[in-house]
Assembly symmetry: C2
Homo-oligomer: 201 residues x 2
């Protein structure tokens, strides 16, 4: 008898992003604003292309801005609920460096840049990834209000918990542009894939 | 020029588990104790085989106990920090049913069974997966004390937050056997892959 159970899985970036990857990664993103501008572009493009929610994340060299990975939310295109933008970007960065620990090289601190405070799942995924820096566009309730997503139960001291583990947090980078993406998404009445309130951003 | 960036990733169950899969999944696990006994067996086997931490999870049909997926922590063998047992089991279940939403079939409620309260990442992954039931061996600080893992910042009302989203929680199933696994792991002084305190269970 052959097994009915799955033994492996995979996920990939959508075709539109694969085709733009070289161009988008060609130049370092030197400032935090540069980095978030790319993330906001990817997030807006992603939901319009139908791959998943309006979320993107990138991993960069904290010092130089060299791009290590680009990720978007591919929950819909992969049919896997854990494939949020942060998990996708962090995992692709680990493939690129060949190590589950993105903090393994003390001479090259890596940074995750994402277009809002991570949901509770991605909060943990970031914490365990080895990145030393997190940059977010904002952290308020606006995301849930505008987009309809459930971000899950977070603690008030979420940022301090990162700092306590040696991970710096920079907030309110490219905030207005991020909110514009969520607003456009919410107004388009696209499928929010948590119709029963059980899927995060 | 060809892209230097990764565009896809994959993960698979370790060879020892693939070879036992048919036998382990052949019969339904009718009681919660039966289900957790399998999880505790897989968790203990997993760290001894060197694939990752002492953690396993399964997805079953809540009513019949039919096995939908088996997962173990494959952080070390996959070189991907997000591949905790819960993420692996939930993702393989989604591959099996062909849907990111394990709650899509109202006539077949699915259940995640795992050998301790999930870390903060897997807490969110469970919440977004569509499972309707969670069964854990325990939820206290014993896991961190015995094994050395960081489980991340959880809220006191973590179980109520599941219930609020329509996910039932059953606790203290197979607790003593789970603790024995963590104790054996801790005493073996195996690599705990969060030497800097940045990797969860």
């Amino acid at each position: 008898m052959t097994s009915q159970l799955a033994t492996s899985f995979s996920a990939e970036l959508p075709a539109w992003l694969r085709s733009e990857l070289d161009e988008l990664a060609a130049v370092p993103r030197v400032t935090l604003d540069d980095r978030m501008a790319l993330v906001n572009y990817l997030a807006d493009r992603n939901w319009r292309e139908g791959n998943g929610g309006p979320f993107a994340a990138i991993v960069v060299d904290h010092t130089t801005g060299e791009i290590v990975s680009l990720g978007v939310n591919v929950v819909l295109s992969s049919s896997l609920s854990s494939m949020h933008a942060e998990v996708t970007a962090l995992t692709l960065a680990q493939v690129a460096v060949g190590n589950w620990d993105l903090g393994a090289d003390p001479d090259r601190e890596l940074e995750l840049v994402v277009n809002w405070r991570p949901c509770v799942m991605c909060y943990g995924a970031t914490m365990w990834s080895g990145v030393k820096h997190l940059v977010v566009a904002g952290d308020g309730p606006e995301l849930e209000t505008l987009s309809g997503f459930d971000e899950g139960p977070m603690r008030e001291d979420w940022a301090q918990q990162f700092e306590d583990r040696g991970i710096s947090v920079a907030q309110d980078i490219g905030r207005d542009a991020a909110l514009a993406v969520f607003r456009a998404y919410g107004e388009a009445e696209t499928l929010v894939y948590n119709a029963r309130g059980t899927s995060g951003a």
